[in-house]
């Protein structure tokens, strides 16, 4: 096996191992990346981890997949990015299919149906929890609070979510621009970015 091949395999395996940690959030992924990627493999320096999560959180998509692709790319180019991405996606892909098959097989079973009645309520709580966490880091002043409320109300009128996303970006730019014209500065950086809701 050539060195390049070995590197690809090693990237694949490291992220394969981390994949189950991406459950419900990335708090678990940050220490895992520090341990596996920084300490064991020395692929990144510790201070680069903050940059890594800043890039992964800025680009659309799941932070776990983004950081895998980013690290893979840094270490071994495009093919490295593919190897790392496959590693992080494969286990959850297979598990999701297994769960889908299981669900289709057993959804009419009264015990499973009973469990699911309760689990649906918990999943609603999980989504509400995600909303609270995002709100904590994204609602930094009155205007962003008003924008969030406006977005939710607009969605209830049946507007397509894509419009809400586009309006949000435009509104942010306009608001900061107008405040700057009046000589006011807007605090646009959040206190501490939340990574795990994106995962």
């Amino acid at each position: 096996m050539t060195d390049k091949r070995k590197l690809h395999l090693s990237l694949f395996l490291v992220f394969l191992k981390m994949s189950p940690l991406t459950f419900g959030g990335g708090y678990a992924l940050i220490p895992a990346i520090e341990r596996e990627v920084v300490e064991k493999k020395s692929w990144l320096r510790r201070e680069e981890v903050a940059d890594l999560f800043a890039v992964s959180g800025t680009v659309p998509g799941a932070v776990a997949a983004n950081s895998a692709a980013f690290i893979g790319y840094r270490i071994a180019g495009v093919s490295g990015a593919i190897a790392a991405l496959l590693g992080i996606c494969l286990p959850t892909f297979v598990l999701m299919i297994v769960l889908s098959v299981f669900y289709v097989q057993f959804k009419d079973n009264p015990k499973i149906e009973a469990a699911f009645t309760a689990i649906r309520a918990t999943v609603a709580a999980l989504i509400a929890f995600a909303a609270i966490k995002v709100a904590r880091s994204s609602i930094v002043d009155f205007a962003s609070g008003a924008l969030a409320t406006g977005a939710a109300l607009l969605l209830f009128t049946g507007i397509h979510p894509l419009w809400v996303i586009a309006l949000g970006a435009a509104a942010g730019m306009l608001w900061v621009h107008f405040r700057a014209l009046r000589g006011k500065e807007t605090k646009i950086k959040d206190k501490e970015p939340v990574y795990d809701y994106m995962i």
Binding site: G61, A65, L85, F93, A114, A124, I127, S144, I165
Partner: protein
Amino acid sequence: MLIHLFAMFFLVGLVSFGGGYAMIPLIQEEILNRYRWMEAGQFADIVAVAGMSPGPIATNIAVAVGYRQAGWLGAALAALAVVLPSFALILAAGKLFFRYRDNPRVAAAFYGLRAVVVGLVAYAAVSFARHAGMVTAAPDWRTWCQLAIFVGSLFALIYLHKHPFVVILLSGLVGIALYG
């Protein structure tokens, strides 16, 4: 069908700022109203299964929807579609990001984006609860129990810092005891 599947999840991958949970309203709109692939209740069940599984929720939903519509090929295609845009952007962003990170316009756009993501996720929670039958004009004991489980789960997540997997597992057991 396969083309629609790919196009839809590519779009989802492209705009999923703030990630998975914020994308539920978009996926829901496309699947229920545009392509009419399933009923609201079936979609709610897919979201529930996706929430139970590790991995990014948008990718999980893509896999489940793809598998349901077109088997293994559909699942693989939908998963590829959802990661492809961010994958391409990550490769580009490796260079671009550091140039534009401090650009005030980009920062201002994200100030607005992050705020509407809160709205999107909050809407996703309410609309999921509605499809799960938790919001009705005439609640019976089942609905009241669901609301109690909702509050209990939220409490366990926020204040007891319980792992989502543990909360889901316990909730399933409570469900079997209550409704079984």
